[in-house]
């Protein structure tokens, strides 16, 4: 008890120094928490992906397409229950800053294959009935204040021109991890327009989505599909949705790795800062430690004082950092909503926060403690005055 009183008073002796150190830890914990959340948000799409779906695309790259005629041939492959298809549209809403993913899809089969996009029967009916209709996720609608019946104009990038849509429905996610930021419209609208303006690009599919009878047969089915189109003009690459999503993410894997590394570097830096604070503190107190030792206080007592103060500082910073992580992450998630449909601080991040702060507090105290315990009493006393 006495030790606790002593070390908290000691910690508050240099308010500015202690305050700045705590602030540093708070910021480090915030940065660490946000960076980790960014990384997990990055993989959220992967984790939300279904094992019961395969994605078939052009083997060369995602920017190449598949002919419409493949659809029926894939449907006949053993193990395939249903198929749908989609094209990445890449349209821009007013300015590029308003980015959100938008796809031309075959509406009926697509929503059957993606039950996690929940659409009311009325909305669905209205969407199917309107060739120029579109459906958007709840968060996207909130972001731009769209209501059913609104007209929305996208500027084409991959498919030039101005594209007019009418909002026919707003879907919500069945799971917390479902992306509610997407925009879907009828593939037929895209295709018919292309037939008139750029016939060469018509009847082309970006990806074909395969629903499986049994998720266990995913490997065999994907091999069977790719074998069927071997040596044809457009070879396919068929993989699970998870693998497909990962291939997206892995394009930027280097960035993710960089973010991960930075998040740990932040911890190492703050460790150096706290260690420096504790070294300064302990150096100033060498005389006091000598007085305690002269009175008969043993080394572990001195160690308790140094470690206690170090942990007091690091854990205070940790607590403040954790408390602030939630509102800051919420705000950050709102700003970055288009890129990270799911932005949630994971529980494991908090455990890591606490673990790192403990390590920082302990490591920072090791060297000062060693010095404080080791120095001779007479030498320590000589430093006073």
């Amino acid at each position: 008890m006495f030790l606790l009183k002593l070390l908290t008073r000691n910690a508050l002796r240099h308010r500015l120094r202690t305050g700045l150190t705590i602030l540093g830890i708070t910021i480090a914990i915030l940065a660490f928490g946000l960076l980790r959340t960014v990384v997990s948000a990055w993989y959220a799409g992967v984790n939300a992906s279904s094992a019961a779906r395969l994605i078939s695309r052009n083997a060369i790259s995602l920017t190449f397409s598949l002919p419409l005629s493949y659809l029926e041939r894939i449907r006949q492959v053993e193990g395939v229950k249903s198929v749908s298809y989609a094209n990445w549209f890449g349209g821009i809403y007013i300015t590029e800053k308003n980015f959100f993913p938008n796809f031309a899809v075959e509406p009926k089969s697509y929503f059957e294959l993606y039950p996690e996009f929940v659409l009311s029967p009325e909305d669905k009916r209205a969407f199917l009935a309107d060739r120029k209709g579109c459906v958007v996720g709840r968060r996207l609608a909130e972001r731009f204040g769209w209501k059913v019946g609104d007209s929305i104009t996208l500027k084409g990038t991959i498919f030039p021109g101005t594209w007019e849509f009418v909002l026919r429905g707003i879907y919500r996610g069945a799971e917390k991890s479902t992306d509610e930021n997407q925009f879907f419209f009828q593939w037929d609208y895209l295709n018919e327009t292309l037939k008139k303006t750029a016939a060469r690009r018509a009847d082309q599919l970006g990806v074909i989505i395969l629903g499986l009878k049994n998720p266990q047969t995913a490997a065999e089915t994907s091999l069977a599909v790719d074998a069927r189109f071997k040596n044809s003009l457009a070879e396919t690459l068929t993989e699970t949705e998870k693998a497909f999503q990962l291939s997206f993410v892995s394009m930027t894997e280097a960035i993710v790795v960089a973010i991960r590394i930075v998040s740990y570097v932040v911890i190492v830096i703050i460790m150096a800062v706290v260690a420096n604070t504790m070294a300064m503190t302990a150096r100033e107190r060498i005389g006091e430690y000598a007085i305690f030792k002269a009175m008969g206080f043993r080394g572990y007592y001195i160690a308790g004082m140094v470690f206690g103060e170090s942990l007091f500082i690091s854990m205070t910073g940790c607590a403040v950092g954790i408390v602030l992580t939630f509102p800051v992450a919420a705000r950050f998630g709102k700003i970055m909503g288009a890129f990270f449909p799911v932005f949630q601080v994971e529980r494991s991040t908090l455990y890591l926060d606490v673990a790192f702060c403990l390590v920082v507090g302990l490591v920072a105290a090791v060297f000062p403690t060693w010095r404080a315990v080791r120095i001779g009493i007479a030498d320590g006393l000589r430093r006073i005055g």
């Binding site: 002593l6 008073r9 002796r13 006091e288 007085i291 030792k293 002269a294 009175m295 008969g296 007479a378």
Partner: protein, 233 residues
Amino acid sequence: MADSGERRIVVSIRNAAKSYLRGSQVVPVLEDLSFEIFHGEFLALMGPSGSGKSTLLNLIAGIDSVDSGSIVVDGVDIATLGERELADWRAAHVGFIFQFYNLIPVLTAFENVELPLLLTPLGRRERREHVLAALEVVGLADRMEHYPSQLSGGQQQRVAIARAVVSDPSILVADEPTGDLDRVSAEEILHLMAQLNSAFGKTIIMVTHDPRAAEKAHTVRHLEKGVLSDVPS
């Protein structure tokens, strides 16, 4: 002092030697020093700067160790004690008074005086009684909630004296206790120490440069070039 044969010896130093290393050079400070201090004695150690007074005091107080020889305090040869045993021994037997008071600045006068008692089995209430009694002796019971920075130098030294006596040690060691005080405060401190010696029978070993301080002592010894000589008082 002729009847000193009947008096109990508290500190007995036999052939003590101490030298320091300065770089690669060995600097002898004390060589083959022997003498006794009796129970209830008030001893003043004088001598020129660098003669080894503080070194000798530190050896007696068990915060530095001899190279050879023995230092027996209350029947225990402290030169043979390990670091931990020595710490426990100091807690039980030695009260320290320093030139710069050396109070812990974040603790109140009361808490500073309580420090040595934290190493005893005394409970909270008993500790409080002891602390109040000690502060009463030095006349600062009304300042117990004050922090060192709120006290004058003389008052701080009185708190330090209360801290030194609160656990009732066998010996009090004081290294230039008045060295940093004005004349009036120094007088008060010396008076207090003389009182502790006469009224409470405390054995005091005091290093000082101040002849007036030495006047209060029973015995004055002079240390020069490692040799101790009596100064008739």
